[in-house]
Amino acid sequence: MAKVLLIEDDSETAEEITAELADRGFEVEWSANGIEGLDKARSSRPDAMIVDRLLPGMDGLTVIEALRKEQVRTPVLVLSALGAVDDRVRGLRMGGDDYLTKPFAVVELVARIEALLRRPVESRETLLRVGPLELDLIERTAKRGDRVIELLPREFRLLEYMMQRSDQLLTRAMLLEEVWNYKFVPATNLVDVHMGRLRHKVDGPGEAPMIHNVRGAGFILRSVS
């Protein structure tokens, strides 16, 4: 059972997040200010942290910087009412952590925490396999069983990302950021259109669907149907 440390000064938000994460089987520890949160991060060694940016005592980014100096590599999801046009936030994202702007959907938060916890291990594997799906990263080819799937470069990139995170909920915002390097949510449902095309190719007629749409949340590539 993964242990998550939540540092958030607003008790109502904290309660909501704690309840949702507990429902999903996480063990949640809550701290309402920066200094106490930093102590807890040092003592209880959580698997992941959710840190509000504006905190009494010590601001969220400072807490993370302090931990990083001590070589604590716990993945962090930063919450903030502020936007992301900020150099410190960019540094954060490059460090493998994540950032979520308030207000956010709880599904989005859970999906991102799960993504942080199950970050794909750097592997030399050049052949990805999920169920009957096979992706050759060198030959740039895709197969479902014996059927060869013709993919455009952008579709290949999307499928690769999804196969590395199979059975994980991937929200639209996550896909936009990671696959297309988009730091904003466009007006048009770009992701749905691209996903629709990919699904059309991956899930052929008569085959059990592998790409699933989770209503109001995002998409999952399931290894077993």
């Binding site: 150099d87 702007t101 007006a187 048009t188």
Partner: protein, 490 residues
């Protein structure tokens, strides 16, 4: 401290920080009046100096003239025989109705032989040039002391001939001139004071008028303007300038108020829908599925409101941020291909041809994420407003004035002249496209990003719509295109 009333302002103006024991008339304390007073003073001094100069000149002239005359006369009379001399003396004194002539002959021992000078003046140098001397004039009526120009000559028989001439007429002329100048000076001085007072009162009136109007503006009457006459006069000019500023501010304030209304309206619509859905769901739903469907619909409505709020916050964030030190070289040609790549399936779904045309490789200093967002917004709009079967072109061009242009052209309905300003307004959506979904902040966002980079945004009329992001060359580094490509994606 902000003065609350006009009377308050008056007192403070004349005597900053000080108490005034007595209230003088307003105009006397005014700056204009002080100036007028000073000018009058300077004028008076000038007139007095002028008078002095004239007096001195006249006196000098008359003295020199009378000196010349008595010198000539003394030589003439001295050259005559003694009998003729006495005759000439009598003649001279007789022909002197103004009584300015003086003449006498003294014997060598000093007693007077004839003439109207009582005694030989002690300070008179004999055989010297004409000089001023103190003499006593005698005639039948009596004696009087005078200072006159005199000259003395010792004649061959030892007698001394003294001639004199009173130059009091110089003083008389000076007196007349002085009177004339004084007569001129007094009215001029008074005129100065009057003009000063009048100008001062007039200025005061205008200031008061302006102040009253400004007070009305402060009180909230935004349509009030300063008094303005259509003449070439500093005060009117100033009023004109201030009125221009007030016009601009009024427009801005109305625009701001309009934005507030628009935000409220745009937020209320989805929230109202969510509320109705929840209300009806609570009454009508009988199964869990129905309730979930209701909740989903309500969440969608609330999400839309949140999207609007997020977009507004993001807009404010970009508008308030400065050129970041983290600006880097952004290759525009690659960026445009990327945007095209993302939007290609969407265009294809609508049967729209999306093409990117790049003739040169251009790099600009900027924030890649924001620039992608700007171009993506333009392309998004273009696809949205282009009917099926149309086309959208993204092009990278070189402008004539040494600039790089990112141009997005579509074959949609276009933006007409009147709407061109309006589309940059927050939440503006043309009536033609009321039913197209969207937040109505897209172009604002583009404008804010473009401004942050020091670029320009231009919207051109049809056919269709042409929007350009113009990057001046100091922001761009151009390299010749390796292959001049024109890549067709769709």
């Amino acid at each position: 401290m902000v003065p609350a009333t006009y009377a308050d302002v008056d007192v403070k103006q004349g005597h900053p920080g000080g108490e005034i024991p007595m209230r003088q008339p307003q105009f006397i304390r005014s700056n204009t009046f002080h100036w007028a007073l000073m000018v009058a003073g300077v004028f008076a001094v000038f007139v007095i100096v002028l008078f002095g100069f004239i007096y001195w000149q006249i006196d000098d002239y008359l003295t020199a003239r009378s000196d010349r005359v008595i010198t000539l006369e003394v030589e003439g009379i001295a050259g005559l025989s003694p009998e003729r001399r006495l005759e000439a003396m009598d003649e001279r004194l007789k022909q002197d109705p103004r009584g300015v002539q003086l003449a006498a002959i003294f014997a060598a021992d000093g007693h007077r032989i004839t003439g109207n000078i009582e005694s030989l003046p002690a300070d008179l140098r004999i055989d010297g040039p004409a000089q001023a001397a103190n003499i006593v004039k005698t005639n039948g009526s009596g004696r009087q002391h005078q200072v006159v120009r005199t000259i003395a000559r010792r004649m061959r028989n030892g007698d001394v001939l003294v001639l004199g001439r009173n130059v009091d007429e110089a003083r008389e002329i000076s007196h007349v001139v002085g009177e004339a100048l004084a007569l001129g000076l007094l009215p001029a001085f008074l005129l100065c004071l009057l003009a000063g007072a009048w100008l001062s009162v007039r200025a005061q009136k205008r200031v008061e008028e302006v102040n009253q109007r400004v007070q009305r503006i402060i009180a909230g009457d935004l349509r009030e303007r300063l008094p303005h006459r259509n003449i070439d006069e500093p005060f009117s000019k100033l009023a004109g300038i201030v009125n221009g500023m007030l016009d601009e501010m009024e427009t801005l304030i109305h625009a701001l108020a309009g934005v507030g209304n628009d935000i409220a309206h745009d937020l209320r619509t989805p929230l109202t829908r969510a509320r109705i859905t929840l209300e009806r769901g609570r009454t009508n739903a009988t199964t869990l599925e129905q309730l979930q469907a209701v909740a989903d619909k309500a969440i969608a409505g609330i999400d839309q409101s949140l999207t609007i709020i997020t977009a507004l916050l993001r807009l404010a964030e970009i508008e308030n941020s400065r050129r970041s030190a983290s600006f880097a070289d952004v290759p525009l040609h690659d960026m445009l291909r990327e945007v095209c790549d993302i939007y290609e399936p969407i265009a294809e779904n609508k049967n729209i041809t999306l093409q990117v045309g790049v003739t040169s490789r251009v790099t600009v200093r900027g924030d890649r994420d924001l620039l992608i967002e700007a171009v993506a917004n333009l392309v998004d709009n273009a696809i949205k407003f282009t009917p099926e079967g149309g086309r959208v072109d993204i092009e990278l061009l070189r402008g004539g004035g040494g600039e790089t242009i990112v141009q997005v052209t579509d074959t949609g309905s276009g933006i007409n002249e009147q709407e061109r300003e309006a589309v940059l307004r927050r939440f503006y959506r043309s009536d033609k496209i009321r039913n197209t979904p969207g937040v109505g902040l897209g172009l604002n966002l583009v404008a804010a990003i473009v401004k942050l980079h020091g670029f320009r945004l231009a919207i051109h009329p049809g056919p269709g719509c042409r929007v350009e992001i113009i990057c001046p060359d100091r922001e761009a580094a151009i390299q010749p295109a390796r292959p001049a490509t024109r890549q067709a994606v769709s």
